[in-house]
């Protein structure tokens, strides 16, 4: 009995090999809080796959519910049962840290469409790990650089008390040349910022930098707008993304935020992407959707050159990154993280819809601070 089953499994394997079918495992957040980000990544990714017209790519999509232990199990399932060649999809850094190191050590390729925790860019980098979005600190560093350009001398900076929050403030401080009027760590998931706003009012700051992803940022911006303080605010794109901007409303108008992508970046790929995404899903694409789209196109470009079963050739094909990115120029640094231009954007209103417009470049061809620690 056992022999028969193994033989059957073996022949099944051979059959898939003959078709040269590529199996992609996507683990992302599709239910519960934060599902909006995962849905955008998935939709962007699948749009690119559909546009490629290839029917030999199978994408297995699973919902991690934003729980690390579920993500780890799904990754076990992808690798053990589905035997995927490439994995992608994870939104949150803590989930990525739980999944990626084990996955890449089992000879699976991982393409990150969002999370870019610093350990994976530095000492923990891996030849099979590619980040198509950014290293976590990038957008914060760009915010610091923008603050210098805007001639801010004294910033009040704020983030939740968890690793990505600490990285955010470190990233800002790495580039900001002025002084700090205050440095505050808030509680993760906090919804009321009255106390912090009072501290901002009492300080002698000339600008405010904050990193508060998701609902936290919505709450802060609404409360800040109502407080009557008119210091300029700058932050990373996460709180000004297309998905949540409508929920912030007028409170976000005019706020400067940093991003590697915007819908008005002028290149043919991006124009076509924005149009086709709107046509397909009936909404404007977000930053996350663009990252999902780029991730899929990177994968497609590599598949055109090599099969994942030839790991070395496939890796080289990925590293070359010869695809048309929605961001324009795109290449990988030595640690497989993007070297890209990061823009400063401003929130504007187009008709009834809040969206962003590019103001200028914050950091040109920017890499990250950890590349030197990466020994690949």
């Amino acid at each position: 009995m056992k022999k028969f089953l193994t033989a059957a499994a073996f022949s099944a394997l051979c059959a898939t090999g003959a078709l040269a079918e590529v199996k992609v495992g996507m683990i992302t957040t599709l239910s519960g809080g934060g599902a909006g980000l995962g849905i955008d990544v998935r939709d962007g990714f699948m749009l690119a796959i559909a546009q490629s017209g290839r029917d030999d790519i199978e994408v297995v999509i699973e919902d991690d519910q934003r729980k690390p232990d579920i993500a780890v199990q799904l990754s076990d399932k992808m690798i053990q049962s589905e035997r995927v060649d490439v994995m992608t999809g994870i939104i949150w850094s803590n989930l990525a840290m739980a999944v990626v190191p084990a996955a890449v050590n089992q000879n699976v390729f991982y393409l990150s469409p969002n999370a870019g925790p610093s350990p994976l860019a530095g000492k923990g980098c891996h030849q099979n790990y590619f980040n198509v979005a950014w290293q976590n600190d990038n957008l914060h560093e760009a915010a610091g650089a923008y603050a210098n350009g805007a001639d801010y001398k004294k910033s009040f900076i704020m983030a939740p008390n968890y690793p990505a929050g600490v990285d955010a403030l470190t990233g800002y401080k790495r580039f900001f040349e002025g002084e700090l009027a205050g440095e505050v760590y808030t509680e993760l998931g906090q919804t009321d910022y009255a106390a912090e706003i009072a501290q901002i009012r009492a300080s002698d700051a000339d600008s405010v930098f904050f990193f508060l992803p998701g609902g936290m940022g919505i709450s802060f911006l609404k409360q800040y707008a109502d407080s009557g303080i008119d210091l300029p605010v700058v932050g990373p794109a996460f709180s000004f993304d297309q998905g949540i901007l409508q929920a912030v409303g007028d409170a976000a108008m005019g706020v400067v935020n940093t991003s590697q992508w915007n819908k008005d970046i002028d290149n043919p790929t991006n124009t076509a992407f924005v149009e086709s995404f709107q046509a397909e899903y009936g909404r404007l694409p977000s930053l996350y959707a663009s990252q999902g789209f780029d991730t899929a196109n990177l994968l497609l470009s590599a598949l055109d050159k090599a099969d994942p079963s030839d790991a070395d050739a496939f890796r080289e094909a990925l590293r070359a990154a010869e695809f048309d990115s929605t961001r324009g120029d795109f290449s990988f640094g030595p640690n497989h993280h993007p070297v890209q231009t990061i823009y400063a954007r401003e929130v504007i209103k187009e008709g009834d819809v809040f969206t962003n417009k590019i103001l200028g470049v914050a950091l040109e061809n920017h890499s990250d601070a950890y590349a030197a620690e990466c020994k690949m």
Partner: protein, 306 residues
Amino acid sequence: MSSILIIEQILNGLQFGVMLFLMAAGLTLIFGVMGLINLAHGSLYMIGAFAAAAVAGVTGSFLLALIAALAAAALAGAIVEMVVIRRLYSAPHLDQVLATFALILIFSEGTRWLFGSFPLFLDIPDALSGPVTLPGGIEYPFYRLTLIGIGLAVAVGLWALIERTRLGIQIRAGENDREMIAALGVDISKLYTLVFALGAALAGLAGALVGAIQSVQVGMGEPVLILAFVVIVIGGIGSVRGALIGALLVGLTDTLGGVFLPELFKLFMENGAAQKTGSALASMGIYVLMGLVLIWRPTGLFGARA
């Protein structure tokens, strides 16, 4: 640290406290009268916020939005009471915990089904937006002052309802002896539905009021729910007065702890580390407070019985 800042922070703590009171009052009434632990109270808060956001989006009127929030939450409360909760009054606490835990799952994912995964927009009405200057030169958001006012008004209203009306007499009687008031001819199941709907409406009101300055999203109710439980445990379960005192204590501890603990640690630590340690301890502050109260008085400050 200036005295202006300290007064402002105390106001913030008060505002947080009275909003918690709106949540906690319903919870404590429901427990006091029906002996029910309702974990789904946070879902009613969320329903209020979503109803308000939906109506404000269509009509543009904040007042209508508030009415919609009250109505939707009260309606949801009444339906849930009649369909599910009614069967749980005589059940052990354990069953109540599980059933209302199941209701959270249904409400949260159901709301996401209806409204999608992204947060909704709800804003402060123009008439209430912007800061006002208080005596002593303190600038404080008018809306938050209004919230403090509404919260205190609800507290007074609840007091009058319980102490001065026929319904209040029945509620108090229900807290003391359930069988007796049924024997006296009070329509007990109607009373229960009414109390549950009242508690739900208060939660819905809190959701709508707070939703205007926070983010209206699925899952917004659970953190508040846990805080509301802390409040009623500190105050003594079943006591509305205890809920008010407990809510203010929790609101002030949380707000002032978050501001002053990091300052305290700065006296003997490096700036960044003091911030991190201080805010870590502050986030545990209210639970420490609750632990201390329960060790001192195992049934809370105003709790009569276990």
